[in-house]
Amino acid sequence: MAIIQINQLVKEYRTNKRFTGSFGLIKSLFSSEYVYTRAVDGISFSIDAGESVGYLGPNGAGKSTMIKMLTGILVPTSGDIQVDGKVPYRNRKEIARKIGVVFGQRSQLWWDLPVIDSFELHKHIYNISASDYNNRVNQYVELLDMASFVHKPVRQLSLGQRMRAEIALALLHHPEILFLDEPTIGLDVIAKHNIRNFLRQINQETNVAIMLTTHDLKDIEEICDRIIIVNHGQAVFDGDIYHLKKEIGGINKQVTIEFHVDPGEIAFPNALLICDEGVRKKFEFIHHDGEENSLMRSIMSIPNVEQIKDISIEDMSIEEIIHQAFVNLTQNSKIRV
């Protein structure tokens, strides 16, 4: 069942036109000409209950604008938007109970007070019953390993601890969707790892849908089943990582073979030679469905197999894939899988 449904959604921002030149300033003051920029330009998708979706795109691609429209903060210029069957900006208060929002760079906790005080206030704002509240606090304190700092003032917490508290706060009223805007920004490697694990776990155990925007592709890889890539306000890809890899050619494997002695020219029917340094050669094996073991067979078929010193087989990293996606998919037309 779709919990988020958007269709041909558009958000246009209007800014005063700025004139340049010597009289530009005066002109700007008096003119009523506007420049319209489309942050979101006709995007459609739907998200089911319990899904976990990464919303990805370069800076200025309209990621935050999308989150703001879904949470009822911004009103779209045109198109349909429904969250849990309702239009968010018209039913802001109702929708607020159904969603949890975490802004990576803006805290919703009370800076000078212990974490538990912010939880307590949240309980009153959302009218959470005492027993539900106690159960959930206990559950999240354990899950997120917060026992050591839940009674400490927020200003004394590390960034990672604070982010855990932010996420727990956003989940206290048991929302059906959790929106996260850059949840791991500024965290160290271990803190990032913990947050990702927790989000994955919470997604699987409580069936809360997760939609997150991020720059960190590891977030997507470890948390999300599905990726939506946006660029210039348009969705250029919507599907899972496997399909994305296939689309980009990222499913191909790069194989570097190192020999003791230069074996001369070697060619495979299913691979391209990318780099030849004599004793070290690098190939890209083209993927064909149903021939998953052709790579190994090809390597084993090298005439002087005993001369091989070392072999490394690499998948394209997700960074490379996404980078490719930004470059290729924008140039070609939209691709939906």
Partner: protein, 260 residues
């Protein structure tokens, strides 16, 4: 927002504030000095000239005290949320107030309630009580009730003025200078408005109804004028407050991009 929830906010804010107890107390001392200076300057003036527009020192103290007291009450609610709105918008923090199942206006007011006006209330209450002791006015149940209602209405006017500054930032992003200007203009009512040119009196009555905060109530209570329409003074505050909240909401809708 329920009263219970509001009180919960107050408790939390109080606890936050008490983390910086020394700052809080020092600030109070500073503010008391600041307002004392405003009284002293008028007192020095009247020490020399006995009265302004026929208002002697105790009457002037009464006039100023109503201004300060109602400001303290109104500003406790609206000063911090409204004057911080510009920064909230720049940093994007305003969004936090739009994703909760309570009214954004009520949520802002509750989370920014300011206990810092205790100093204002202390000094103005002391001067108010002192001035009443030194004024020869009849003070019955009716006058007392009227006085309470004018204080309430005045507080609403003061709160409303600040809400307009907040609304300004919702429409135009920048409100810092508007705020500065407002605080300069606001002080005109520390003197009887009859001292100003006729046009200004009209402005202060009908356009920026600051005169309803202290001047008109004082005219009635100090029996300077027998005019039954002065009995309507306590109605102005609620009306003004209502209008400013409407303006604010239009501003929020503009912020959400509904209009454009």
């Amino acid at each position: 927002m329920s009263v219970k929830l509001f009180i919960h906010f107050l408790k939390i804010i109080m606890r936050s504030r008490m983390e910086y107890r020394a700052d809080f107390l020092l600030g109070m001392v500073g503010q008391i000095l600041g307002y004392a200076a405003n009284y002293v300057i008028v007192w020095l003036l009247l020490n020399r000239f006995t009265s302004i527009e026929g208002w002697a020192w105790p009457e002037m103290a009464f006039l100023i005290s109503i201004n300060v007291l109602t400001y303290a009450i109104g500003a406790s609610f609206t000063y911090s949320p409204m004057l911080n709105l510009e920064q909230l918008m720049i940093k994007g923090d305003l969004d936090k107030y739009l994703i909760k199942p309570i009214h954004p206006f009520a949520y802002l007011i509750a989370s920014y309630f300011n206990f810092g006006y205790i100093a204002h209330i202390l000094i103005s209450a002391v001067l108010l009580i002192w001035s009443l002791g030194n004024l020869n006015v009849h003070w019955g149940v009716f006058e007392f009730t009227y006085f309470l209602f004018t204080l309430l209405s005045g507080s609403m006017l003061q709160a409303g003025g600040l809400i307009l500054i907040g609304s300004w930032s919702l429409y135009f992003m920048k409100s810092q200078f508007m705020g500065d200007l407002y605080f300069k203009i606001k002080d005109v009512i520390n003197y009887p408005i009859s001292a100003y040119a006729g046009v200004i009196q009209v402005v202060l009555t009908w356009m920026m109804p600051l005169a309803f905060i202290n001047y008109y109530p004082a005219l009635y209570l100090l029996q300077k004028e027998e005019n039954t329409s002065l009995l309507l003074v306590p109605m102005v505050g609620p009306l003004f407050l209502f209008l400013t909240i409407v303006v604010w909401h239009r501003g929020i809708r503009q912020y959400q991009g509904a209009g454009s």
